[in-house]
């Protein structure tokens, strides 16, 4: 009787194993969408076309990969404290991943380390943060973008003249007169762009960067900075603006002045900037891929959660857009988010 039972058990197990194993195939190599993930996206500011487009990209990915996306942003790009508080909140809320566009390279380093300590992966998007714990950076190469901007502007100026730069950073902590040598609280992308621009411009002895102004995150602030600059340097032949807000402010001032003598290279591709490009106020603009940045950040966040290997750095590229190439179909696709 005993041997009979053993036989039966063996046989039964065998048959069951065969029937079960025939049902379950190998697991797919794409992301499983069967479970919901909580991903917190914290960017620099809650307004502006750039961040909206980034959010659109993130939302597209969230929809695709079944992500519950929590979007957070302070009112202003310079509000580092607020951003730190938001990251802390996300840690408390036990986000699965935090995607961060850091307003300050060093200012958010500590809180990112904290997140990593709480075993929450952090992915930085657009702007890097000074922490080794960041899983990956998704965004453009700021230095390269700065160089592209400088190259075109100097070309437009014929290789000589005074240039003013309007950059963005945490103006409340860093004085206008440049780096004080103490802790750098600026945003990494702003620094990189500026560095790229200055390094390129340095090759031209006749090109002189007369001023670098830092705007906080409002168009009106950028406008007044531009006016001041134009008043202060009447010989100014070129302006480079290194983010969307600064570009919009400066473009408005230049358009109002009807001063065709001032060439301007803008940054980012808001519809109003396209308008300025088309009417000739702005000669060119350096664009990034905010949609891709948002989408890829969320996608890699999910992949990181899935335990897949993700690249250490994802360069989504920059491009210089002028009147001539703005209507090329492939550029249309980059410049204007497809809104139905």
């Amino acid at each position: 009787m005993k041997s009979l039972r053993v036989w039966l058990t063996v046989l039964l197990c065998g048959v069951l194993w065969i029937s079960v194993s025939s049902c379950s195939g190998a697991s797919p190599d794409y992301i499983s969408t069967s479970k919901t993930r909580n991903i917190h996206l914290i960017v620099k500011m809650n307004k502006g076309d750039y961040w909206n487009t980034l959010k659109l990209g993130a939302e597209a990915a969230a929809k695709e990969f079944n992500v519950n996306l929590t979007f957070k942003a302070p009112d202003s790009e310079s509000d580092i404290e607020e951003q730190v508080v938001m990251v802390e909140e996300s840690i408390k809320e036990k986000a699965d991943v935090i995607i961060l566009a850091a307003s300050s390279y060093m200012g958010l380093a500590q809180v990112v380390d904290q997140a990593a300590y709480s075993r929450i992966p952090v992915i930085s998007v657009d702007a890097e943060v000074g922490s080794a714990k960041v899983r990956t950076y998704v965004g453009s190469n700021g230095y390269e973008a700065g160089q592209k901007s400088a190259e075109r502007l100097i070309e437009l100026l014929g290789g000589f003249g005074e240039i003013g730069i309007i950059n963005f950073t945490n103006s409340s902590l860093t004085p206008d007169s440049g780096k004080s040598g103490s802790i750098d609280y600026g945003a990494r992308d702003a620094d990189e762009r500026e560095k790229g621009f200055l390094n390129y411009a340095a090759r031209f002895p006749n090109v002189k960067v007369v001023q670098i102004a830092y705007t906080s995150s409002s168009t009106s602030d950028a406008e007044s900075l531009t006016r001041e600059m134009l008043n202060k340097y009447p010989q100014l032949r070129g302006i480079a603006t290194l983010n969307e807000i600064a570009s919009q402010g400066a473009a408005r001032v230049i358009q109002g002045l009807k001063r065709d003598s001032v060439k301007m290279i803008a940054f980012d591709s808001s519809p109003s900037m396209m308008e300025s490009l088309q009417d000739g106020t702005v000669q060119a603009t350096v664009i990034q891929n905010p949609f891709s940045n948002g989408y890829l950040a969320v996608k890699y966040a999910v992949e990181a959660l899935e335990g897949m290997d993700i690249p250490e750095r994802v360069d989504t590229g920059t491009k210089l857009i002028d009147l001539e190439n703005m209507l090329w179909p492939e550029n249309q696709k980059l410049l204007f988010p497809f809104v139905r």
Partner: protein, 608 residues
């Protein structure tokens, strides 16, 4: 019957063989065989049926999914055709209104065009341009931007090139101030009047994607499946993830799509298996492409799989339960039968076999019982026959006693007569006559103890003449013993033995003493002599037959022992006690049975 009791049946296997035999007999047990066979057959059938069903169902499911998808795409295609046709008719309406208006700048035309605009949500703008790209009229009233690059835009160039209505690929509408919107443009060369003059111009209608989007949203191809629209050049007109495709984050393998107008195929270019269904719109040449994920289509397959796995599991469990029960049902009576038969084989022929269960087993048990009964009968018969035969032999032996003895006695009588001892002759003859009368006993084999004692007395009288009074004898018996029965002629061989072997060689006078008594329902007769006695070996040899008497009647005491055993049972018979130089005592023991009580008398008579 000195053969072993299990004679009729095979002997049990020896200990050396039993180990191997037990293992293989386990494997060959009916229950196991039935269970395994039943299970194997049922499992095989279930698996085969499942596989066939699975194949069939899976195919059908796949075909259905495919068909379903094609129908959905067909439906979308149809709706889209309707939509495109609608756009065409709006374009025709606009054209007609413009051509029929005497002057292009009349307020009436504006009004009509505004009405047209408001009738369609997805109509973004209507405008007329000169072939040189100058803006003539449009609604809503907009100011044009500078640097539009209009002359090089595809809708403009195509319209100028052909007289047909043309549909553009999606592009950004950059002509008018306000917003940049993604539109599809319909354009054609038209005739219009300006201040009475007939002129040629390009009419442009821009549609946004609202309606197309809504149409496409209706497409439900599983959870992840979708439909997209491609223009004849391979530009994506509409895609649910258009922005992702534009941003280069998604990829759609459009090359095989472009090759065919009407087709369904399996695509693996993205690493995932996807079903692609292509249909083409008549007016625009747009292709509507349905994409369904294979793994979603095969969810039915997976469900089926799971169901079949469960089904198989349940079937197997049931089969096991049923087969175990069934085999038990069949095997247990057989096992019981086997056990009983084994008991029988071990010698217990009286074991009753009453096994209930299957009809065959019951019959088998009944037949076996009958067989057993028959065996018992036959065995009894054999025993009986054997005994009878033996008895017969003994009778013959017994009958040999008399002629020999008669011969000796008559010799003695002759000698006495020659010597003239008339009285002694008379006594001799008298005793002889009495002796023979008892010997004959009318042919009876059973006589009373009285008669037997008389018989031996006469014998002793005759022998005392022969041995010339070399011995004395005394016969004592309890009064009540005399009427009990005994086999006749049991004492004569013993006494003869005592005379010839014990007393004949004795220098002194011998003494033979016979006593008969009753004790505990047993007759005990003792014959003792004071003769030479026997050695232990001789004593032991007598009953086993190894010591043969060389003189006398030739009928040994062993025969007496055997006869008593045959008639009364093996436990009865003779017992010897003997000492050399001292004498011998022979004790006869058998059950006391009153005279007249027949015991095998009938059979005895018929057989003799």
């Amino acid at each position: 019957m000195n053969k072993p009791k299990g004679y009729f049946f095979p002997l049990r296997p020896g200990p050396g063989k039993s180990g191997r035999l037990r293992l293989s007999s386990k494997l060959r047990s009916i229950q196991l065989i039935i269970t395994l066979t039943f299970m194997a057959v049922t499992a095989a059938v279930a698996v085969i049926v499942s596989v066939m069903l699975y194949g069939k169902f899976a195919n059908t499911a796949e075909e259905n999914a495919n068909l379903n998808m094609q129908q959905i795409i067909e439906q979308v295609n149809y709706n889209l055709e309707l939509y495109v046709k609608g756009m065409g008719s709006i374009f025709a309406t606009a054209e007609k209104q413009i051509t029929s208006t005497p002057s292009i700048d009349s307020p009436l035309l504006y009004e009509r065009m505004d009405t047209l605009m408001s009738s369609r949500e997805d109509l973004v703008s209507v405008a007329v341009f000169t072939p040189q790209g100058q803006y003539v009229v449009g609604t809503p009233g907009q100011t044009m931007r500078m640097n539009t690059g209009l002359e090089s835009q595809s809708w403009f160039t195509t319209a100028k090139r052909t007289s047909e209505i043309s549909y553009s690929a999606p592009h950004i509408q950059n002509l008018f101030k306000g917003r940049y919107t993604w539109v599809v443009s319909i354009s054609k060369l038209i005739q219009y009047r300006e201040n009475g003059e007939l002129r040629t111009g390009v009419l442009l209608l821009d549609f946004n994607f609202r309606t197309i989007d809504e149409l496409s949203k209706q497409v439900k191809l599983g959870k992840r499946g979708y439909a997209y629209i491609l223009d004849p050049l391979g530009n994506i007109v509409y895609h649910p993830q258009q922005q992702l495709i534009y941003a280069g984050l998604k990829y759609e393998n459009v090359e095989p799509v472009l090759e065919y107008a009407y087709r369904s195929y399996l695509d693996e270019s993205t690493g995932e298996k996807r079903f692609i269904t292509v249909r083409t719109l008549a007016q625009t040449g747009w292709k509507i492409v349905g994409v369904a994920y294979y793994d979603e289509i095969v969810t039915t397959k997976r469900d089926l799989n799971q169901f079949l796995a469960w089904f198989l599991g349940v079937v197997l469990v049931c089969v096991i339960a049923v087969s175990v029960f069934l085999s038990w049902l069949i095997a247990s009576p057989i096992r019981k039968l086997e056990r009983t038969v084994k008991q029988v084989a071990e010698g217990d022929l009286n074991t009753p076999i009453n096994v209930s269960g299957a009809y065959e087993v019951e019959q088998l048990s009944r037949r076996f019982n009958m067989m057993l009964q028959r065996i018992r009968q036959l065995m009894e018969q054999i025993i009986y026959e054997q005994e009878t035969k033996r008895k017969g032999e003994l009778e013959v032996l017994q009958s040999q006693i008399n002629p020999h003895f008669l011969y000796n006695t008559l010799n003695s009588v002759i000698r006495l007569a020659e010597r003239g001892k008339t009285d002694e002759v008379v006594t001799m003859i008298q005793s002889l006559s009495r002796f023979f009368r008892i010997s004959l006993s009318k042919g009876k084999n059973i006589i009373t103890i009285q008669e037997e004692l008389d018989h031996i007395r006469h014998y002793l009288v005759i022998q005392s003449f022969r041995f010339k009074n070399k011995f004395r004898y005394e016969i004592t018996a309890q009064e009540e013993v005399l009427q009990y029965q005994t086999i006749k002629l049991i004492l004569q061989p013993i006494v003869e033995n005592a005379l010839y072997h014990g007393i004949e060689m004795l220098p002194d006078e011998g003494l033979i003493s016979i006593t008969a008594g009753l004790q505990d329902g047993l007759i005990i007769i003792k014959v003792s002599d004071n003769g030479l006695g026997m050695s232990k070996d001789t004593v032991n040899g007598i009953l086993s037959g190894s010591v043969k008497s060389t003189s006398g009647s030739g009928v040994g005491v062993r025969n007496v022992h055997e006869r008593i055993g045959l008639y009364y049972g093996r436990e009865y018979g003779l017992a010897f006690e003997s000492e050399l130089e001292e004498g011998t005592v022979v004790t006869i023991v058998f059950p006391a049975r009153p005279a007249g009580e027949a015991m095998d008398e009938q059979k005895e008579e018929t057989n003799l």
